[in-house]
Homo-oligomer: 212 residues x 2
């Protein structure tokens, strides 16, 4: 009777087991240190077995990608409470940076690595729904700010892109070890965080001045 159902459950369980192991290895060793073989070993199955549940490695990473977006959305959840759009915008940036610095590998997967995007492009149903949704949240917030006199005369979409570009650029540089110039010190994570915070504070100060 319920044998078919059980099999489906088993299938999903196995998928999940694979993903969990992948996620764990991913956090421990970073993106390009994970191999199908290491995942297979972790779940105590042969490497070939994984191919019964996933088309290829990219599909696994795409699944992790979606999972990562779940984490990001969760981090953004509390912000919906903030009624004032400009305050919300500022807190969004803070939360975004916080997310990126505490989950650098995940951020890398979500916004820097091209593999998940490339896999997406092969999916026929080619669209980055998670990305679209997240960007729309930003868009609405910016629109709210404009209704309160910020950024007037500037296109909402372009302004949102400016903000996203800045925040992403800051996080990307921070994560990828490309901030070393700013002489204060080198390679010390504490210091990099400090630079990122200072930079973000300055950006906020800029935005403040754009109120008419």
């Amino acid at each position: 009777m319920g044998v078919k159902e059980r099999k489906e459950r088993d299938k999903l369980e196995m998928r999940d087991k694979i993903l969990q192991s992948a996620h764990k290895l991913f956090l421990e060793k970073g993106f390009d240190q994970i191999s199908l073989r290491s995942i297979a070993e972790a779940i105590e199955y042969s490497p070939a077995t994984i191919y019964l549940y996933f088309k290829d490695k990219n599909e696994i990473f795409h699944a992790l990608h979606q999972q990562g977006f779940g984490m990001l959305n969760q981090a953004f959840q509390p912000l919906t409470q903030i009624a004032n759009p400009f305050e919300r915008l500022k807190e969004m940036g803070k939360a975004y940076i916080q997310f990126a610095t505490t989950n650098p590998e995940v951020y890398d997967l979500l916004f820097i690595r091209t593999e998940p995007m490339e896999h997406l492009a092969t999916c026929l149903d080619d669209q980055w729904t998670e990305g679209d949704r997240a960007f729309d949240v930003l868009l609405q917030t910016v629109k709210g700010c404009q209704q309160q006199g910020y950024f007037v005369g500037l296109d909402t979409q372009n302004m949102s892109m400016v903000i996203w570009s800045f925040i992403h650029g800051l996080c990307a540089l921070g994560i990828s070890k490309h901030i070393s110039h700013v002489k204060e010190a080198r390679d010390n994570q504490m210091v990099i965080d400090e630079i990122m915070n200072n930079t973000y504070d300055t950006f906020k100060a800029m935005l403040e001045r754009l109120k008419s």
Copy 2:
């Protein structure tokens, strides 16, 4: 007599030959499609030979990294002619975006990939001189802008970081195929360029407003 000198010349020539082949393959096939074996084949030597001239693959990429900075500096060369710092700043951004979109693989190597930075970290003499220098150019330009009434009251270094973060973020998103939301269209390079230009125009408009 001059045999030692000739040998040294030969050694450098070989290094250069390897680098040239690497650079060519790099432009043709992209970063992670280059293998030492393909480089070896291109120069018609055995893979093992390469290890007589480079410690490992990362050292090759670090050399390409430096070479890429040479290209970037060259692209920035004409800008020194522009006396007005704010005009120069705006053209710098334009040139930077131009460079990134026409040489995406090089940009990727210079500012996104972590491998060259990681190799650098193992170099004892650990410092990113090329990066430092380029950032200093930006810093001086921002300082010039401030002397003309722009961004007053904002820290020069932080302001420079804001600008670099924005431009880098824009380029990184453009290159890495993460711009697809902005609904106008999908995956069309023309459109991505357009979005980048619009975003940059908006950023410039923002900066314009920050004159006291």
